[in-house]
Symmetry: C2
Subunit: 716 residues, 2 copies
Amino acid sequence: MAVYKISDDISLYRYGKPYDTEAVVVRELEKAGDEPLKYLQEIEGKGVNLTYTMDRDDIIFGLGENMGGINKRGREYISFCTDDYEHTEGKRSLYGAHTFFIVDGRDTFGVFIDYPGKFKIDAGFTHRDILEIEIPTGDVDIYIIEGEDKNQIVKNFRELVGRSYIPPKWGFGYQQCRWSYLNAGEVEQVVDAMRERGIPCDTVYLDIDYMVDFKDFTVDEKKFPKFPQFVERMRERGIRLIPIIDAGVKIEAGYDVYDEGEEKGYFCTTNEGDTFVGAVWPGRCAFPDFLNPDTRRWWGNLYTRLTDVGIEGFWNDMNEPALFYTPDHLEEVIEEVKSSQGENLDIYSFFKFKDRVVELSNREEDYKKFWHRDKDGRRINHHEVHNLYGYNMTRAASEGFARNRSEERTLLFSRASSIGAHRYGGIWTGDNKSWWSHILLNIQQMPGLSMCGFLYSGGDTGGFGDHADAELVTRWTQFSIFTPLLRNHAGGTRPQEPYSFDDDSAEYMKGAIELRYAMIPYLYSEFMKAVREDRGYMMPLAFEYDDSRSRGVEDQLLCGESLMLTPVYTQNARGRYIYLPEDMLCWRGRDPRNREIHRLKKGEHYLNIAIDEVPFFIRRDRMMVMGKPLNYVEEEVIRELNVVVNLESKAVYDFYDDDGKTTNEADYSLMRFTVRRKGEEVTAKVEQVAGETQVVVVNFEIYAGEDQVVKRKVYL
Amino acid sequence: MAVYKISDDISLYRYGKPYDTEAVVVRELEKAGDEPLKYLQEIEGKGVNLTYTMDRDDIIFGLGENMGGINKRGREYISFCTDDYEHTEGKRSLYGAHTFFIVDGRDTFGVFIDYPGKFKIDAGFTHRDILEIEIPTGDVDIYIIEGEDKNQIVKNFRELVGRSYIPPKWGFGYQQCRWSYLNAGEVEQVVDAMRERGIPCDTVYLDIDYMVDFKDFTVDEKKFPKFPQFVERMRERGIRLIPIIDAGVKIEAGYDVYDEGEEKGYFCTTNEGDTFVGAVWPGRCAFPDFLNPDTRRWWGNLYTRLTDVGIEGFWNDMNEPALFYTPDHLEEVIEEVKSSQGENLDIYSFFKFKDRVVELSNREEDYKKFWHRDKDGRRINHHEVHNLYGYNMTRAASEGFARNRSEERTLLFSRASSIGAHRYGGIWTGDNKSWWSHILLNIQQMPGLSMCGFLYSGGDTGGFGDHADAELVTRWTQFSIFTPLLRNHAGGTRPQEPYSFDDDSAEYMKGAIELRYAMIPYLYSEFMKAVREDRGYMMPLAFEYDDSRSRGVEDQLLCGESLMLTPVYTQNARGRYIYLPEDMLCWRGRDPRNREIHRLKKGEHYLNIAIDEVPFFIRRDRMMVMGKPLNYVEEEVIRELNVVVNLESKAVYDFYDDDGKTTNEADYSLMRFTVRRKGEEVTAKVEQVAGETQVVVVNFEIYAGEDQVVKRKVYL
């Protein structure tokens, strides 16, 4: 083991010769002395095994997209990007391999395990007090990250792995998806319905059926005739179309993407050097070798086929990669099934028979069947670097956009990911279900994603699988209006668009979505500050309030520096319990116009929250900046801001804004709002700290005491 | 439609010629006039379709063992006994078909749908305000049940369907199960471990592996040599062995149960009259025709093979009936699989291929392939009377016990059931998972089961499938100590006995189980009163406290007439929120000896609840009667009772007890405890209302005011 000092707060403990995942952006390493591993203890075992004995009240934060609570303790996690559409409680892997966490308690420190293959983190599952990390090989980089507090540890980690992806501002609009809107007519119906009801909307998604036979970078002209004109027509209505791109490339002679990939050797290969074949949507496919920079360059350029006709955003899917089956294994299974013919299958033989078929997909053995050639020209088995696949597909796309539309931002998010991918795109949390427990899961996943740098993220609002009812979609929407990615998505189920239920429910969701649009000035400002300052966007209460009560809260979140969220996530609820770690302002309303604000005392509360109501809380000496609802983000420039202030003595808010479109980072506006009380006098001040703003007036609504509401209007 | 008046409160609306399920015990019907259907509206459709428009705040209670909250609104339910081991939120059917519910709000009334086949209850899923009942045929009995309040409606319903099953008192002991303790040695290890640690235990279960090749009513002598002596040896240690009995009978010439069934025509038959063949554990099986009274008599007598060697309890399983496959359908699937050989399976063909195999089990088409001959000699297709199968298997066993060991009670519970089965045995809630959400599901299922008459019931504590951690099993045990059936059960997972984790966790669970044993005087008294008076045992708060806040509580239960329960059901929790609809006494402790009692005010509270702590609440002017922990229920006769009283002005408690063993109902003891305050004076009185008691002293601990604790000792 070699020790490197990355900074005062970060040490790298290098075992063997780890694979270079490029997760970390600090490339120069300074060898330190022979310091022993800090906090963790090495124990005997195959590979590298590390343990830590936790105090009873130690908490584990982080781990990105994973099952479990905000506190990840008491569970086992397998770092292995997995296409699993049943996110039941026992699952140990989802789509993301996010291996940064913080142990918080007796000692408080961060751990980042930079390892591209499968490994296990037992966070007090086998024994409640033992954290154990089991790396199967002897080659791994372990970063121990310290800092004066948890926020600083996150910041240190994020500086290590590089700045998060920035979407266009319209990516903060409401987005509507379904597997699938089958043709242009169905897409237009969605847009018509949203616009007619006045439900704001910025995008409609094209799921796999827009393609010709599920072939990437094709558009089925029968379903979408005159596609460029259709894209344009939608844009005129303020709607961007977001097509899906899958990892697998259909094997079909004459399909130019396949032909070129085959000819140039861009695909993953078998042990023998042939193109590896696995099946996904189109049947047999080849899999681009995203670890190969040439493949990435080629792949990234393919997106121009769609950006050239006006497409400005994509979602990359199936990039764990999902494998329905490999033809040779399918053949084996069919042979076995045949051998069962006429047999009297009992408990043993029947379940073996059934499991062989059930387990056809996403088999580790299949992941061991193919190989990459990486940036160093090295041939490496896929299984060893499995978690880098989705990451490098996203990177290929992102690098392509940087080359081919470098001035403009492109919406991009992925299903599979690992640390590093956060620099290139966002993620969504994959194929969840229309389950109440998955609203809570979504809530509990967000802070881990923030810590790991996946700031542009969100869940399939309303749930992807299983049938939803109106109340579930309403409550979920009321939470998701705070997540950067706000997308309603379902597949194979009852329609789930906001207007698909009853009129009342449509109105409730419309009100929530209008509120979202009104909040974009704040949400975007906080998002961008989180990106630029390597901070979290949605965080556990414990990161600001370190009392034992706050540390245990599993269903409230901080959202940016000013807000605390208390979503409703149970069926038939008329309210919920809320813990306030300090006196806060409670903002509650059916929409941005119909709202009331009242002060609530520090402590425990039961808050009635009607089905049409969204509450949020403004922290002490913090402010909430709002614009107004629009039909779509770019419909109007916001020239008037409404700022609600919870004033104790002095509140300062740095309001970030930019054009939301270009990649020119120099061109932004930073305004500082300062509100203070001296005796009876309340003052509000607006300063332009950097750049220029298009805002002409800021209306302050200042809650300065038990009953005192002061209004101040500042013209610019 | 014909209308019958059953009583002032109950009307029967009979459509067509319903099948006689024998769910209802009132056999004489008095024809009423032409009153129209009350509350429900008939609408057009195939079969009988009824709707009811709910007010926004109407609640639906009941529906027994089903997914969803205590309030069943917002979901869809399919009444069709289903072997499903994945109780995810979207599931519409579990093992029980429990079709009694109460609509509570603008109108408050009960509905019992007496229909043995598949039908749907849409409780505000499709449209949030519409309750819809869809019976596919024109033959159904709809009972509308009124009453002065919800408790009276439950009582009226339960009088209609007959008195609930009574287990032996030792059935209230702690029970330990696993799939499977494979031999006598493994069973003894469990008993040794429990006794050595002093964790009380009354039974150990024998899951399917105790049999020879899964053949019912056999015992594998290789695994359990000298079985009668083994049973006896266990009994001497206070342990009863509880074997499983499955519905399917292995087809094997020379296996006498099969041979006799075949010879006498006791099995279900195909359309052509041959014995129907379906596969379960042993492979191909025949299925006893439990609707045939001759079959039931034969089957009921088979249990004597085990009762004759000292067995006193059974669990009937796989009696939906579960069907892994039917040989002819399996053949079809294999043929189809073969036809896929060499094909390039894509999204459509691959999932079709996979689904054919995944969906081999429990197919409706297979349920349509076999026939019963019922008590009226009528031949009826299984699918039409599917929900009666588990019910009549339990009935067969119960009727056998009534013939063959009529003096003694026999422990009996089932997986599948429908209304009527509650007279013959209890149920457990089937193959749940080691998921936190399934503790809550267990909590939320209990009141529905109480209403439907399944009083002797409980969930697999710790969760059956998936791996559990110590905290989950601890918290689940802390809830289950209040359920009549208290059984820890797991299969195919990490060991889950209380001592299988760390020593601390074993101590926590020991403390909770000791508390259970100390509470048995109260729990048994309340259980027996619920049976005898057709009341609930675990009920929603709304049945006693009808304020709008109490009506919405989904995670607290009333347990008997005195207690309110507030279990912890979330991971890493250090406490939980609690709503008190009135001032109550909070009893909290690690075990029955180490406890404290304090008064808590009406309203909202956050209660710290450490991992080793069980709290419960004693209602105003109610009392809690406790004995003491024992190693097993029959270890000692309880001669000293400790009664904790929450006294406002006058508290009266009727304490029921009996020998817990015999079926002689005349022989019981009823004592009345009266505690009252007049001015400063507090008095406690004990009266023997019926029978005789073995209790010699009652210690009253009376909490009579803010701080006033009065002790009174009454010798008998």
